[in-house]
């Protein structure tokens, strides 16, 4: 906020002038003033019930020693910040944090790059192919995660998988009994591909919708002035679509940061530590080690990190909103 100019200060109406106005009846004023709040009330109540209360409860739980013994008696044991000091001094925890951030960065950039490229392709395509491709994208988007992961895990199955069979038949190499999860890098590549594959349709369709709104005259003018297609994309399309990109990136960050189902299901519900992300770490600590307090602390730290990471984007988004 810059300091207000004297002119702006003068524009503020004189209170005495206002008070001399004839007063509207109290009820009318109340009604018109309260209406927006009444309208937003149901939404607030729902958010409070489904998000606020669990968050409060989780915060409470994270300050307690809460194992199976406490669970059966519905009575935790207050230990203050001990859970937090335990995870903050745990090298493995920081390792998991870094891994989660690295995965998020990789998955989000791949999703954005491929999503945008396919959107640009959609613009160039004829009507029939465009409908075909769009339908394909919608199908991917509509496939429930659990089903998609089951299909993928059969494709890369060690014993009977079609990927190994196909690669061997195509003479790419001997992929007979190739174990895609034996090496951490190859395992993460499969998981990233699976997550990115599932996220691309949304990004593509959003960017495509934005691209159709780019005024043709601007592109034509730039082209006439001798701009290359890349230059047009960089200096005309991207600035115009910036709001859409910012929103898509922040949503993708939120989604990919907390990815759980894909990793959990493809690794049969027992992912080894080198496949732990923060959400998996929090879940196994709570539900497999019965350390619900510690698990809640990890989950809360995760929420805080997510807020910090997405803060930049949300601020950007709010700025764009204000500018309109």
């Amino acid at each position: 906020m810059s300091s207000r100019s004297p002119a702006a200060a003068a524009a503020v109406p004189d209170p005495r002038v206002t008070s001399r106005r004839p007063r509207r009846p109290f009820v009318t004023r109340l009604r018109s003033g309260a209406a927006p709040y009444l309208l937003i009330l149901p939404a607030c109540l729902v958010i409070g019930a489904v998000l606020g209360y669990p968050l409060y409860f989780m915060g409470h739980l994270s300050l307690e020693h809460y194992g199976l013994f406490q669970l059966i008696r519905h009575q935790g044991e207050w230990i203050g910040l001990k859970n937090y000091s335990q995870i903050l001094h745990d090298g493995f925890f920081w390792h998991v944090v870094l891994r989660t951030l690295a995965f998020t960065a990789a998955a989000v950039s791949l999703t954005m790059v491929f999503g945008t490229l396919i959107a640009l392709l959609l613009v160039q395509l004829g009507a029939k192919m465009r409908i075909l491709l769009t339908a394909g994208l919608i199908f991917v988007w509509a496939t429930p995660v659990v089903v998609a992961v089951a299909v993928w895990s059969w494709m890369v199955d060690f014993e009977f998988g079609v990927a190994n069979w196909l690669l061997t038949e195509l003479h790419v190499g001997n992929f007979n009994h190739h174990d895609w999860f034996a090496s951490t890098l190859s395992g993460w590549t499969i998981i990233t591909a699976l997550v990115v594959w599932g996220a691309i349709p949304f990004v593509t369709l959003m960017v495509y919708a934005g691209l159709t709104q780019v005024p043709k005259e601007l592109v034509e003018a730039a082209t006439t002035d001798g701009a290359s297609p890349w230059r047009v994309f960089r200096d005309v399309t991207v600035p115009l679509l910036k709001p859409i990109f910012v929103i898509l990136i922040s949503l993708s960050i939120i989604w990919d940061f907390q990815v759980f189902n894909q990793i959990w299901i493809i690794l049969d519900g027992q992912p080894p530590p080198q496949y732990f992300t923060m959400s998996i770490y929090a879940f196994t600590t709570s539900f497999q080690q019965s350390q619900y307090g510690l698990g809640s602390a990890i989950a809360l730290v995760m929420v805080v990190i997510l807020l910090i990471v997405s803060f930049v984007y949300i601020r950007e988004m709010v700025k764009i909103g204000d500018a309109e």
Binding site: L68, H177, D268
Partner: protein, 430 residues
């Protein structure tokens, strides 16, 4: 302005995703019903025993519904914890005999009187002790299982193996013969050993005199999978797997069940439970034609000490009544019906060891299942700490085996870190 609405909608969608969590609960129909959680093994392997128990129970309690809910080993404990937290526990629950200690110690089960249940004087002592905590009984033995080598008679014959091996050295030599004969097929294993089958690996450890963990005089536990005996056994295990097996090194013995690739002719043998024999023919399992059985045989895994067998894990299941169950008396009556001689006979014939020694000879004349009973002569069990389940749930032994078998870590390094983790988990306050 349009954009702001769009942003708001998008944010709301994102928040909804953050907030959404899966929950499950067991729906209670009426007071006149009893809810039972048993594992899917019963559904696939001995549905007749369930039907018989239900019929007997309903004769005793006309008009009371029996609500059987089949559970999977992967998720049952999570669901049970959630049910305990929500005061919505079933009236009867099946737990593995290595899982009961944690729940008995935490006070999750109501105590029972042994004399109220059938055959309690002849219960298998191993199962009974997995139901006993500080001198009190908290669950009822259900069944036990032993492991043996299930093999292809025709392949052994073709590889020139005339007599079944009676020592580990001979067994390994036979395995090499099989690899020589059939190994050109890249899918073939002489002995199919999924890398994360820690029951098999621990069998080697126990045979060479090692243990997973031991309790010291001061009551504290210590992981001992890095003892010289264990390291030696795992080194032998690793070299055996690399020579004889082409199974995945990152999967356990349930992904897939070895009976399935066995039925497809991809191996000459595997180390399996008694119930895995019939599973070869189960339409949902191996789906092999009944004629395939002529080619099959089983024998106890020979020890490195000549004339002995390697000790098998004596796994099993127990049935307990949760402390917060609504119909405890009905639950107890259902358990009585299910663990009576009639049902236990059906369970034993499906390839298991019945909960009572009275039925020890049910399979004596069944060439398929008798070897499993013989194998149980030497057995081992997991450390009896209430925290043992947490060791299993952390999958640290499976990960240790994967690290060893894929050469990511040396046997010494992998076992050292696994022992340290076990010590920490076993001594944690619950």
């Amino acid at each position: 302005m349009k954009l702001r609405i769009f942003a708001a909608v998008a944010l709301a969608a994102a928040l909804a995703t953050v907030a959404s969590t899966a929950t499950g609960s067991t729906k209670r129909a009426s007071a006149q019903s009893v809810t039972v959680w048993v594992m899917t093994d019963a559904q696939a392997g001995w549905p007749g025993a369930i039907a018989a128990a239900n019929a007997q129970f309903q004769q005793q309690h006309p008009g009371v519904d029996v609500n059987i809910q089949y559970q999977s080993w992967d998720t049952v404990l999570q669901k049970f914890d959630a049910a305990l937290a929500a005061n919505d526990a079933p009236d009867v629950i099946e737990l593995g005999n290595s899982q009961t200690a944690k729940y008995m110690a935490a006070g999750a089960f109501s105590s029972l009187k042994a004399k109220n249940f059938p055959n309690s004087s002849t219960w298998l002592s191993g199962l009974k002790s997995s139901c006993t905590y500080r001198g009190k009984l908290y669950c009822v033995p259900y069944y036990a299982g032993a492991r043996a080598v299930i093999y292809r008679k025709d392949m052994y014959r073709q590889a020139g193996i005339k007599r079944l091996p009676t020592s580990y050295a001979q067994w390994l030599a036979d395995g090499k013969k099989l690899m020589k004969k059939f190994g050109k097929n890249r899918n073939f294993s002489a002995f199919y050993e999924p890398g994360q089958n820690w029951y098999a690996a621990t069998t080697f450890v126990e045979d060479w005199g090692g243990h997973l963990a031991v309790q010291q005089k001061n009551g504290k536990w210590k992981g001992t999978i890095d003892s010289p005996q264990a390291v030696k056994a795992l080194t032998i295990f690793k070299s055996m797997v690399r020579k004889l097996s082409r199974a995945s090194k990152t999967q356990d013995e349930a992904h897939p069940f070895p009976s399935i690739p066995f039925a497809k002719g991809r191996m000459a043998s595997f180390y399996g439970n008694g119930w895995e024999w019939p599973y070869v023919f189960n339409p949902k399992g191996g789906a092999a034609p009944k004629s395939f059985e002529k080619k099959m045989g089983a024998y106890p895994m020979p020890s490195h000490i000549k004339g002995r067998y390697m000790p098998t894990f004596l796994g099993g299941s127990d049935l307990g009544i949760p402390i917060s169950a609504k119909n405890k008396a009905l639950g107890a009556d259902w358990i009585k019906a299910f663990t009576g001689t009639a049902s236990e006979t059906i369970i034993a014939k499906a390839g298991n060891i019945a909960n009572t020694t009275k039925l020890a000879n049910v399979n004596a004349h069944n060439p398929a299942l008798a070897p499993f009973a013989r194998a149980s002569k030497y057995s081992w069990f997991v450390p009896t700490s209430p925290n043992w389940t947490n060791v299993e749930n952390s999958h640290l032994l499976k990960q240790m085996l994967t690290a060893i078998l894929t050469n990511r870590k040396s046997v010494a390094a992998a076992t050292h870190s696994a022992s340290k983790q076990m010590t920490t988990i076993l001594n944690a306050s619950s």
